[in-house]
Amino acid sequence: MATAPAEKQQRFPRFRKMAQLEHIILLVSFTTLAITGLPQKWPQAPFSLWMINLLGGIETVRIIHRWAAIILILGSFYHLFASGYRLFVKRERMRVLPVWKDALDLRDYVLYNLGFKSEHPKMPKFNFGEKFEYWAVVWGTAVMIITGFMLWNPIAVTNFLPGQFIPAAKAAHGGEAILAVTSILIWHIYNVVIKQFNPSMWTGWLPRRQMEEEHALELERLEAGGDPWPGAALEAPAHRKRNYFIVSAILGIFILAVIYYLFTFEETAITTLPAITPEVITPLVTPAP
């Protein structure tokens, strides 16, 4: 991937193909979840009813929501396993971990924007904003999966937890949804679409101008001949690989089983209420006064 620094390279590698695929999975499932979920947060809004009916009624919407959740969960676990492989088997450096410099970058970024500093901070491959987004997605997805599971299987959950966890989970699920959707709309959409379109998630490459602005440190490293994915080319010891596959296979089967049970865990409610049909016509023997 690396090219000779002398040629004044115009674009630089940023995302692997699998990272792009993960993004698409996340984008599709997240959007679907937001569209099918948010109307349920405001059930009395006319827009909500319109949207729900457009999508095929509340019961259909809930089925779509759950399938989208399954896709999100599968995508999330793929990410965990893949990251685990890179971290524990290949022993790549985890460049998305926040460090003290990110705080300084944030400070300098604000000061630069306000005109108190003449230099834009030089930022690494993942700048403070991207790290914030990444960990927000990790946190948010975890919250949504856990609370979503509770809402999906309230009877199973209340076998172990107090009943009030269910409405609390509902509150958290809704609150987190609003936080996630609004954050994405304000921060992510501004930074990757409005400010200047960022093609790297679709092409894998980022133009030099955006590298200079947002990832000057990474640009310097790459131009100095650095590997875009340091350590990725390392050959991991066979036993480490084997152990990881065994562990991940067991975990994977367990997770798949849990996901399967999500659909069949419990019959929360009977599907048809017993009809209440009392004898309607029962005339009095003597007419009322």
Binding site: G115, T158, G163, A168, L179
Partner: protein, 553 residues
Amino acid sequence: MFRNFIRKLPTLLLLFGIGSISIFLFHMLPPITAEASVNEEPVSISLEGLNIIQTLVQSDQHPDSDLACRACHSDTDATVEFPSGETFSAQVDMGILAASAHGTSSSDPLRCTSCHAASSYQFPHDDLEAADLRQYQIAKSASCEQCHGQPHITGHPGPESENPVVCTDCHGGHDVLTVEQLQAGEGTDACVDCHTQSGVELVDPAALTGLINAGLFSQQEINNDYCLACHSQPDIEMEFPNGDTKSVTVDAMALHDSVHGAGNSWDELVCNDCHVDYRYPHEPLAVESAREFSIEKNQVCERCHEQKFDATLDSVHGEALMEGNLDAATCTDCHGAHDTPVPNEPRERISHTCAQCHGDIFDEYIESVHGEALTTGDPDVPTCIDCHGVHNIGDPTTILFRVRSPELCAGCHADEEMMSRHDISTDVFDTYVSDFHGTTTMLFDPEHPNADPTKAVCYDCHGVHNIKRPDDPEAGIKQNLLETCQKCHPDASANFPDSWTSHFPPSLEHNTLVYLVNLFYRIIIPFTLGFLIFLVATDVYQRIRSLIKSSRS
């Protein structure tokens, strides 16, 4: 001058002679003979007749002009013969005439010529115009109208009928009865005879006198009194072709006291307002049964109550009726017919009205928290119609009714003012909607084919008609919450009911965990968004500045 007189004298003498001879000849004629126009047999005044004349002449009570008539008609064997061959005695019983309503005993006795106009009855009498006795009677009755200008209306067939009943048929001719006599029961024989002959039901003299005394014949127009003359009589019934009978006795006081009576805001209704164009004798029935009659008669309510009538047509009752269920309630089943009371006074009346047909449901309701309060006169609690509607009563088993029912309950239970009177929380609707069941119900579109109406609404947990206080020691929902949940969630365990927020808005006291989660997001969301917006704003600011800078240079 004198020469002229001499010249005309013979003519004058001639005229005088003729006149004298005429007078002489007239006096030489035989005694006066009365002749019936058709009867050729001469009638002579008998000695007795002359005596009567003499008596009458002496009487200063009687008009002199009757003398000539009485001379013959007081005592005669003569008969009148009609072209039809019928004969009729020409004798008038002067005693009966004197005693009659028009006789000498009355305050204003009539002369013969009062009725038998002198111009038509000059002796010798002209030929009769009437073809028979009946025609004569009918024609003669017209003379009553000379004095009785506005003859009362009766149910009897009038002159336009082929077989009319005329004044004299009931009142008599020369023996005409006084009002008092008729009211005392005299003259009803004539009624009975005629009714028997013509097959009219009323042949009981006592009943007939009752009708007369009730004012049947004292009316100048068709009004309530006219109708009530018959219809106020007890135990009168109408029979239908299928054998049904229906009482047609009307309680006049009940009618007067009803909403259509004295207190009617428009005007007191009269029988004919509803029984449009009813006349006596009544038209034959066009329906088979008493029920069909009631249903048909209910159409008349539309004349004034069009909106309510139309609403009823679309109701469950109207639809059932359209489908041929004749037992379906119509206007009068709930409101009554003649004794229509104010339908909601007292309020209890409303539910008692429904109870007439829906007895079991009423029994449940009256034991409920709402029903019990109704009996104590609570003006806030719902009666049947507050939930089911009044005239536009819809089918309460539809999906639409089900999913809209929480809003129905909220109509009262979210009303701050009303609930404060009963110390009941108004949060019930909002807390319901913010919970899973309510959220789903609100989002439910009954028009949608995939709609699943099974999420619990208010009445699934609280009961329908038998709603009790939530803390009722026996039937209260709090005592039996798990069982209530298990109706729909059969696998629910002991913790499960707590997953319902029990209509408490989350607070530190109730649903604490939910409150804390909400608090967390209420802080974290504005903080995060505020921070992100701030960063975006600085970035935009920086970009605008550099844009201006680059355009300058």
